[in-house]
Every structure is written in structure tokens, then in C-alpha cells.
Amino acid sequence: MKKVEAVIRHFKLEEVKDALTEAGVAGMTVSEVRGFGRQKGHKEQYRGAEYTIDFLPKVKMEIIVSDDQTKTVIDTILQSARTGQIGDGKIFVTDMGELIRIRTGETGDGAL
């Protein structure tokens, strides 16, 4: 099993979610995060005070996939989340340890 984390643009969330569910992904967890990579921040001004805001709001998705699903999921995310501009985000893939469904206690692939 693998954990696929993707940091994507806010407005891409619906598109990526729809594409993933179509590709067979049963569930995911989404959180609002801030971050930066190569995309520069912006300036904000409040009366006399000027601030450079480096951290930009993004959305992070966390999906647990079986090993054979991994490539499909990654390709789906790449296709649906990409705009071609700096700031599209990144995908992180890590090995998953245990996976358990709370309601039934199922483990492993049965809990996906």
C-alpha cells in the first residue's frame, strides 16, 4: 500500500476529486494548507504597513492506494491538477504501514 499526498491549487480540487473517483479511488482526506515552492508570494498593504506574504493557500489531498493502483492515481492527479503555470504543486508517495477500517476492524487491502 502507498500513501499518495498531493498539494494542489484550490480551484483544482473538484476536478481532481471527480477524476480520481472515476478512476476507482474510494475515499480521500483533504486539508487546507499554506506553502510555497517556486511560486513567489505577493504583497499586501494595510494603512502604513506592507507585508510580503510568501505562504500561499493550497489544498492537500491524502489518498491510500494499493500498490497496483499507484501509477493510475498519480497519472490521474497529474492530468487533472496541471495548469502548466508555476504553482501547480507536488505529489509525494510514501510507503504505508497498517490500514484499518474503524467500523469493521478490517485491515489491509480490504480496508481501502
Partner: protein, 473 residues
């Protein structure tokens, strides 16, 4: 048990303040024919004008709304999330304590007859004597203040007594101890606000009468210069917020600030037009002048931002409106609405400069620009009242302001008025600065002014009030 003792004490105090006799008297049973007199005591109020009284009651409510939710939201949105309740508590609690202090003694100190050589008023209205209705033996008598019951005059002025110290909160936001703020505000109200109000608004006040008559219709000196200069002293004495200049401290919710500013704008109609103490032509002039000054203030400040930075901001537009409103406050009963446009522009530009260039040059942490908007705006308004004042508004039989006087070939009269305005500015700023400085030093020694560093980092909401403003998870 302790609580029984306290409850008994409070009950006794309330009975004492109610004015009822300790010894029971025979209660007369009203005859059926006398029921009408008992039902409508207004009949016994000599010279009452229903229109004036109605407008003054509404104005009083409008001014109260300016403190909360107006100022509470306006200031609340400008501070960091962890301090929103701190701001709101300051507003609400001041509504509580300043009301009682004013009703019981502040009103008397401001509007009573001269004592101490005219420095302050006397005990004429202490504990609402001469304000509350009394039984004359055969009628209910409501003391009058012109065409309105004195009760109404008292409660209208009460709302000003609340909001003025609340304005100072803008200077020490996010770092002042709540207990000290309460004590400071009460003492400041009695020792700084009441004298200035006495000088400017009471019949015997030295700034109200010749030869020093200064025109301050709704409180340019009493409210804005006093709070603005006191705010400057506060932020200089108390020092900057931790992390000021290094950590970003942007407003956590400008939507609140905008809503609050809109409420201030609407409430200001009560503040300014209500200062006519009646519903007539003067109130109409004040109302329209107020509105046009606010409107021009929006355009001026936003315009300055548009020119100097390329983007007009909502904070700029709202600040401009407030600056215009501050500036027109002393002037609205003596200048025409057309001059109100000038005053709005002057304030929009002047306060913009004070809040950006002046503040960053001198480096003080006036967290919410209490000095930049109220101190500077009030000063501009008080001085320019002397320029734009017009006999067409007031009915004086001689030219009033500098422009009018020069056009009538009587420049000396106009210069005289400008001098008087300047004196009122200096006098009110002086007592504000000196009084505030002394109060702060004394309270620092007795109670401490700032919260501890740890409490400041934790935020006032948690450290002073044990609450969180926003609980999302």
C-alpha cells in the same frame, strides 16, 4: 454566609439610590378621574417638544451603536485573531462602567455649575439630582433641558462618555491589562473628559463663552482631540507590541472592519446631528454636512492610495470615511455641507499622511491609528471650523469663519475665531496629554499597564478573559 451579606448590601444600595423614603408613607388611592394625569406624565413636563425628544432618543441609541457593534467590529477586525474578544470586551465593559459613572457623577462634573474656577462642574446633578423626575406634591415633574427632558440630555451625553475612552483602546490594543484599562478609563473620563466637556459645552464653560468661544458642535475637542492625543501618550508610554516591525500583524478580519465602519458612519448621524439637541434646521445641516464629509473622506483616502500605490483598499476607504467624520464633528453645526466636502477631503488626505508617513517616520506603535485618525482629524476639524464657519448656518449677526469674514471685509473677526479654535485645540490636547501621562505613570506603579510577555503572546482573549473568539476544530 458571605453572599447573603453582599446581597443585602447591594439591595440596600439600590434602595438608597432609588430615592424612596425609608419610612412608609400613606399611599393615596388615585381617584378614577385623576387616572389620566398619572398615565401621561409628559403633560407635567413644561415646554417639551415631542419631535426634539424623539430625535434625541434615537440619536442616543445611534451613538451607543457606534461603540458596539460599530467600534467593536471596526477595531476588532484590525487586531490579530487572538485579541478580538479583548477589543470587544473593552467596548462592552466600558458601556457598562462608563454609563454608571456618568449617570451618577460624570454628568454633574461636565454640566454642573463651575467649581474650581471653572475647571470642572459641581455637584448640581450628582446622583441624578435635577435629572430624575420628582413628585412636587401634586404632579410628576421632569426637569427640562430646553425642549427635551434633562434625562434625555444626560443619556445622550452618556453615550459620548462611553465611546471616547473606547477610542483610546485603539492605541494600546493587544497589550494593555484589562483591569488597568478599566481603572484608567474611569479616571480619565472624570479627570480629562469631564473638564473639557465642561469648558466647551456647559453654559458657563470658558470655551463656550466670550471672548474664547470656540465652535465644537459635537466633540472635535471633547472626544477626538482628547482621545487622540491621549492615545499617542499611551502608545509612547506603554511601548510597542512584542514583535512589532518584525512579525507580520495584518488585520485578521477586514470584513468586520468594513461592517464596523459602516455602522460608525450611520451612528455618526446621531453623534453629529443629535448634537443640535433638537430636530430642526441645525440638525439637518449637521446631518448633511456629516454625510458629505464622510463621502469625500472615502474618495480622498482611497484616491491617495490609488495614486501612491496603484490600488485603493477597503481599509483605506473605511479609514477615509471615519477621518472625514472625525473632521466634520466639531464643524457640522457651523459649516455648510458644501464646506463639509472640503473638510472630508482635508481629513482624508491629512489622516492618510499621518497614518502612513508620519507613523512610520516617528516609529510609534499606534496599533489602530487612534492618534492618526482622531487626534489629527480632530485637530484639522477644529482648526478648519474657524475657516469655514458661516453665519448662514448659525444665525449669528456677524461673519463667523475666516473665509466669510474676509469676503465681508472683516478679516479680524475670522482671525479671532481661528485663534479661539487654536486655543481650544491646545487646551484640550494639553489636559489630555498631561492627564493621561500622570494617570499612566500612577497606574503603572500601582497596577502595571501591560500584560506579561507570555500573556501578550498567548493573546488577550485567553489571558485576560479565558475565552477564544473562534473555535473551528
Amino acid at each position: 454566609m458571605k453572599w447573603v451579606k453582599y446581597a443585602a448590601l447591594i439591595a440596600l444600595l439600590m434602595y438608597g439610590l432609588s430615592g424612596r423614603p425609608i419610612v412608609a408613607q400613606e399611599s393615596e388611592e388615585p381617584a378614577a378621574a385623576e387616572e389620566e394625569a398619572a398615565v401621561d406624565p409628559v403633560i407635567d413636563a413644561i415646554g417639551i417638544d415631542g419631535g426634539d425628544t424623539a430625535w434625541m432618543l434615537v440619536s442616543s441609541a445611534l451613538v451607543l451603536m457606534m461603540t458596539a457593534p460599530g467600534l467593536a467590529l471596526f477595531y476588532g477586525g484590525l487586531v490579530r485573531k487572538k485579541n478580538i474578544l479583548g477589543v470587544m470586551m473593552q467596548c462592552i465593559f466600558l458601556m457598562g462602567i462608563m454609563s454608571i459613572v456618568w449617570a451618577l457623577c460624570g454628568y454633574s462634573l461636565a454640566f454642573g455649575k463651575d467649581v474650581l474656577g471653572g475647571f470642572i462642574g459641581g455637584t448640581d446633578y450628582m446622583l441624578m439630582k435635577g435629572v430624575l423626575p420628582i413628585w412636587t406634591g401634586n404632579a410628576a415633574d421632569y426637569p427640562m433641558a430646553g425642549t427635551i427632558p434633562r434625562l434625555v440630555h444626560m443619556v445622550f451625553q452618556l453615550m459620548f462618555f462611553i465611546i471616547t475612552p473606547a477610542l483610546i483602546c485603539g492605541a494600546y490594543a493587544e497589550r494593555m491589562k484589562f483591569s488597568t484599562m478599566v481603572v484608567f478609563s474611569v479616571l480619565w473620563g472624570l479627570l480629562v473628559y469631564c473638564p473639557i466637556a465642561h469648558w466647551v459645552w456647559s453654559d458657563t464653560g470658558w470655551l463656550f463663552n466670550d471672548p474664547w468661544t470656540a465652535f465644537d458642535f459635537a466633540g472635535g475637542t471633547v472626544v477626538h482631540i482628547s482621545s487622540g492625543f491621549s492615545a499617542l501618550v499611551c502608545c509612547l508610554v506603554m511601548g510597542k507590541r512584542l514583535g512589532f516591525g518584525q512579525e507580520p500583524m495584518p488585520p485578521h478580519n477586514l470584513t468586520y472592519t468594513c461592517i464596523g465602519a459602516a455602522m460608525l458612519w450611520v451612528g455618526w448621524f446621531g453623534f453629529n446631528a443629535g448634537s443640535a439637541l433638537g430636530a430642526g434646521a441645525l440638525a439637518a445641516n449637521a446631518f448633511v454636512a456629516t454625510h458629505l464629509a464622510a463621502a469625500t473622506g472615502v474618495l480622498a483616502w482611497a484616491g491617495m492610495e490609488w495614486c501612491t500605490r496603484g490600488k485603493p483598499s477597503i481599509l483605506g476607504a473605511c479609514s477615509g470615511a471615519v477621518a472625514g467624520l472625525v473632521c466634520i464633528t466639531p464643524a457640522c453645526g457651523t459649516v455648510t455641507p458644501l464646506s463639509g466636502i472640503w473638510l472630508g477631503a482635508i481629513a482624508g488626505v491629512g489622516c492618510f499622511w499621518a497614518c502612513t508617513t508620519l507613523k512610520s517616520k516617528l516609529g510609534y506603535d499606534d496599533s489602530l491609528d487612534a492618534f492618526g485618525v482622531h487626534g489629527v482629524g480632530g485637530t484639522l476639524g477644529a482648526l478648519f471650523t474657524g475657516v469655514f464657519a458661516s453665519q448662514a448656518v448659525t444665525g449669528h449677526n456677524h461673519p463667523l469663519g475666516l473665509i466669510e469674514a474676509v469676503l465681508a471685509d472683516e478679516a479680524a473677526l475670522g482671525l479671532h475665531q481661528i485663534r479661539n479654535q487654536a486655543v481650544s485645540v491646545v487646551a484640550s490636547a494639553a489636559i489630555a496629554v498631561v492627564g493621561t501621562f500622570i494617570l499612566l505613570k500612577v497606574l503603572d506603579a500601582v497596577m502595571g499597564l501591560r500584560v506579561s510577555q507570555e500573556d501578550e503572546i498567548k493573546g488577550l482573549d485567553l489571558s485576560q478573559h479565558g475565552e477564544e473568539g473562534y473555535i473551528y476544530l
